[in-house]
Amino acid sequence: MIRKKILLLGDFGVGKTSLIRRYVDRTFDDRYLSTIGVKISRKQISLENELYELLIWDIEGETPVRAIPKSYMKGAAGAIFVADVSRSHTIDDLDRHIQRFNEINPGAPHVLAYNKCDLLDEKRIQKIVQGSDALPVSAKTDYNVEKLFESLVRRIVQ
């Protein structure tokens, strides 16, 4: 089994924790998130005859009173950048998150997720997603959640 550290990054309230909760059946105590700004979950995934254990670091969205410690991002094999499809500024902020991640982990792969796609109609989502390689997901309806994590792992192991 091969362990990999992956990050979930994005603005406050975009649904990172919900995505992990949907994807991972077992979660760690949420108190850790509120105390130190990170919650770590674990999920095993089998891909191409190899078993991977993902240590998913759910890093709390940056707020004026809390900055994300740089050291949390170090050594990540990849990252999922999450935005709220119903709040356009969270999509705009993705560039900033990606840039910061790339500075610390140059060359590490990432995927983009537009969460809460259950809130908008399909036509509008297509219009928003058009031109980007983001994957529309919904933690609420479990739409594309498994696919999202799997696509990141595929990029990591490539």
Binding site: M1, I2, R3, K5, I36, I40, W57, A67, S71, G75
Partner: protein
């Protein structure tokens, strides 16, 4: 004060005195009681003054207080006095109680090392590190700490004031004395050890004792890593430059002791804060892991199937077990171990001193050797260079060169003198360099010109080769076309040759058809007299086939005639090509010459007709479809058989058979072929 000071009087006076005493007792009873107490106290003090131990016991608390006050105020004089006394006490203690090598070395080395470290810390580290490596350096640092602790112990022993040390420590660290007392009494239990990759927070290896209660090491490692990162980040954000890294974390009853080096850090989980000795053992264990697995730690990619992980797990488990056993040892055995550690330290310190002296000697020798080499260089090249040992351990060759050409000579001299690891830091002669640069530029220009010419030539050659290649391809295509034509021509010629052969064979056959038939017949009738000399006529003359005047054949002779006919027909049709060119197979009837010619002619015709019909009825005739070819013909007695000049009448009454070739047909076929 003494009672003897009261004056003695007469008896009366005595009585008066007695009365006075009584009066005093009545009036001054309290004061007298107090006086007695004072007398008792004075006696006690007198006794104590004669007993140093008792006196020390009384003074100690006061001394503690005074010393403590002075130390708090950092009174230099007190410290000087204390230091002087300490030195004396140490010296006396070493002479009386500790004659061993360990303490003697400690006495000599500790001030020197302590002074050196405090005065030139960086230099000491630089000097120690390359020689003894990180691990030994770390060990020496720990050993120095042990020495300091040992000195403190000596102070305690000298004064019998264990509490003094505790008080000082409490003042210095800010930890209350009661907590320090608790720490001394409590022996922490090492429950588990984690080795975690620093950057990723991934668990590399871990082991824990069954009672540790850790059920998910991977998550614990990640969370511990996150917590440590969080605190370190907070420290750096608060600009607390004096605090470098988190080393101890406590929550509830658990304490995390964190040591980091290289690409990993080690976290030891304990049930209380570890003491100095335990930290030292953990550090030593960590150093041994680093030494053995540093490469593996550096390149760890999260793959937990690597065999090193189980090895490390076993080592950690062994260490935990040994610590568990250590904890259960009786106090006396631990003291023995401590003594052993002190001896070990002593030996190490002696080795360090030896190494330092050795290095000093080496340095002198090296300077002398460098001087000799510098002289040699000056004599052989006229250049004046200086050799020195660089910070990277390489020999630094410096100076100003007069001529560039001397550089290889200097290198050769250095190599001859076994100096291969070197770094050149020459100042080079600028005019000569410029001259060389001009030469290089000229050479470069010439080379560029040659190169351009070569490129042109190459381009021209390439064009020529392209043209030739094109021609070659055209020629090749033509050749291929010609080859195909030749092949077709050959095939046509072969076909024509075969056709010509076939025609020639046909012509030969047609031209020699008669001769060929004769050859077959001769072969068929070899050894008989049935075939005439012409080779084509079967003459059945000697078998008395017909009786005179009769056209009915004799049955016995007919059987023989039949056999001869079958053989004749079979030979005639043995070549299927003959059949189209046969015009007829004539069956001729003969008579003898007796009787008249007309009768003989009729009889011969009858005989021929009968035999012909008989032949047509035979299977062999049907087989070769020869019935249409059979024709009957009577020749009468025109061809009698003459034997010995006279006619043989029996033989003359006979049948002869011969074939006729259709000459016209043969001629037509020949003409057709020739056309």
């Amino acid at each position: 004060m003494s009672t003897a000071s009261f004056p003695r009087k007469s008896l009366r006076q005595k009585n008066n005195v007695s009365d006075l005493e009584k009066l005093k007792e009545l009036l001054l009873s309290d004061e007298l009681e107090r006086l007695k107490e004072l007398e008792e106290r004075l006696r006690e003090i007198s006794v104590e003054c004669r007993d140093p131990e008792a006196l020390r016991e009384k003074i100690s608390p006061l001394f503690d207080e005074i010393l403590s006050r002075h130390l708090r105020s950092k009174d230099r004089k007190t410290i000087e006095i204390l230091a002087r006394h300490l030195a004396e006490i140490l010296r006396e203690s070493s002479e009386i109680d500790l004659p061993s090598l360990t303490h003697a070395l400690q006495k000599v080395l500790s001030p020197a090392i302590a002074d050196e470290i405090s005065a030139n810390k960086e230099r000491m580290i630089d000097a120690l590190y390359p020689i003894m490596g990180g691990m030994i350096s770390k060990y020496v640092t720990n050993a120095i700490r042990e020495l300091v602790a040992s000195i403190n112990a000596k102070i305690d022993e000298g004064f019998s004031l264990r509490s003094l040390k505790r008080k000082i420590k409490a003042k210095v660290t800010g930890v209350s004395e009661s907590e320090l007392l608790l720490e001394e009494a409590a022996e922490p239990t090492l429950e588990s050890i984690f080795v975690i990759q620093k950057e990723t927070g991934l668990l590399v290896a871990e082991a824990h004792l069954p009672q540790s209660g850790i059920d998910d090491p991977t998550m614990v490692a990640s969370m511990a890593s996150a917590i440590k990162d969080f605190i370190n980040d907070w420290i750096s954000s608060q600009s607390l430059s004096s605090i470098q890294e988190v080393q101890l974390l406590s929550y509830g009853d658990a304490t995390l002791y964190i040591e980091e080096a290289g690409s990993v850090y080690l976290i030891a989980f304990l049930d209380a804060e570890p003491g100095y000795d335990l930290r030292k053992r953990i550090n030593r264990f960590f150093s041994s892991l680093l030494e053995e697995y540093s490469d593996f730690f550096q390149h760890f990619d999260g793959d937990d199937s690597r065999p090193e992980i189980s090895e490390i797990h076993e080592k950690i488990l062994d260490f935990l077990q040994s610590e568990c056993d250590e904890e259960n040892l009786p106090q006396s055995e631990r003291n023995d171990k401590t003594s052993f550690a002190k001896i070990l330290f002593g030996l190490l310190a002696a080795a360090l001193l030896g190494v330092l002296l050795y290095r000093g000697g080496l340095s002198l020798l090296r300077d002398y050797r460098f001087g000799q080499i510098e002289k040699k260089i000056a004599q052989q090249t006229g250049e004046h260079v200086r050799l020195s040992l660089g910070e990277d351990g390489k020999v630094l060759v410096s100076g100003t060169l007069k001529h560039l050409k001397d550089a290889p000579k200097i290198l050769a001299i250095l190599h001859r003198n076994k100096i291969s690891s070197l770094r050149m830091a020459f100042a080079l002669p600028v005019p000569e360099l410029l001259e060389r640069l001009d030469e290089s530029r000229t050479l470069r220009d010439e080379l560029n010109t040659s190169l351009e010419k070569l490129q042109d030539d190459l381009a021209s050659q390439s064009r020529r080769y392209a043209s030739l290649l094109e021609e070659l391809n055209t020629t090749r295509a033509q050749l291929l076309h010609l080859r195909r034509q030749l092949r077709d021509l050959n095939a046509s010629l072969s076909q024509q040759a075969r056709r010509r052969e076939r025609i020639v064979r046909q012509l030969h056959f047609l031209q020699g058809i008669d001769e060929e038939l004769r050859r077959h017949l001769r072969n068929a009738f070899r050894g008989t007299s049935l075939l005439r000399a012409d080779g084509k006529t079967l003459d059945f003359r000697s078998e008395h086939l017909f009786h005179p005047g009769s056209s009915n054949p004799d049955p016995k002779s007919l059987r023989k005639l039949t056999q001869a006919y079958i053989r004749y027909i079979s030979a005639l049709f043995s070549d299927a090509r003959v059949r189209p060119y046969l015009h007829a197979i004539l069956v001729e009837g003969h008579t003898d010459s007796s009787g008249n010619a007309r009768t003989n002619l009729r009889l011969s015709k009858e005989r021929a007709q009968k035999i012909m019909r008989y032949f047509r009825s035979l299977d062999v005739t049907r087989k070769y479809r020869a019935a249409s070819l059979l024709q009957a013909q009577g020749v009468g007695s025109s061809d009698p058989v003459i034997v010995g000049g006279r006619e043989d009448h029996n033989a003359s009454r006979r049948i002869s058979i011969r074939y006729e070739i259709d000459r016209d047909k043969v001629q037509e076929a020949i003409q057709r072929i020739v056309k």
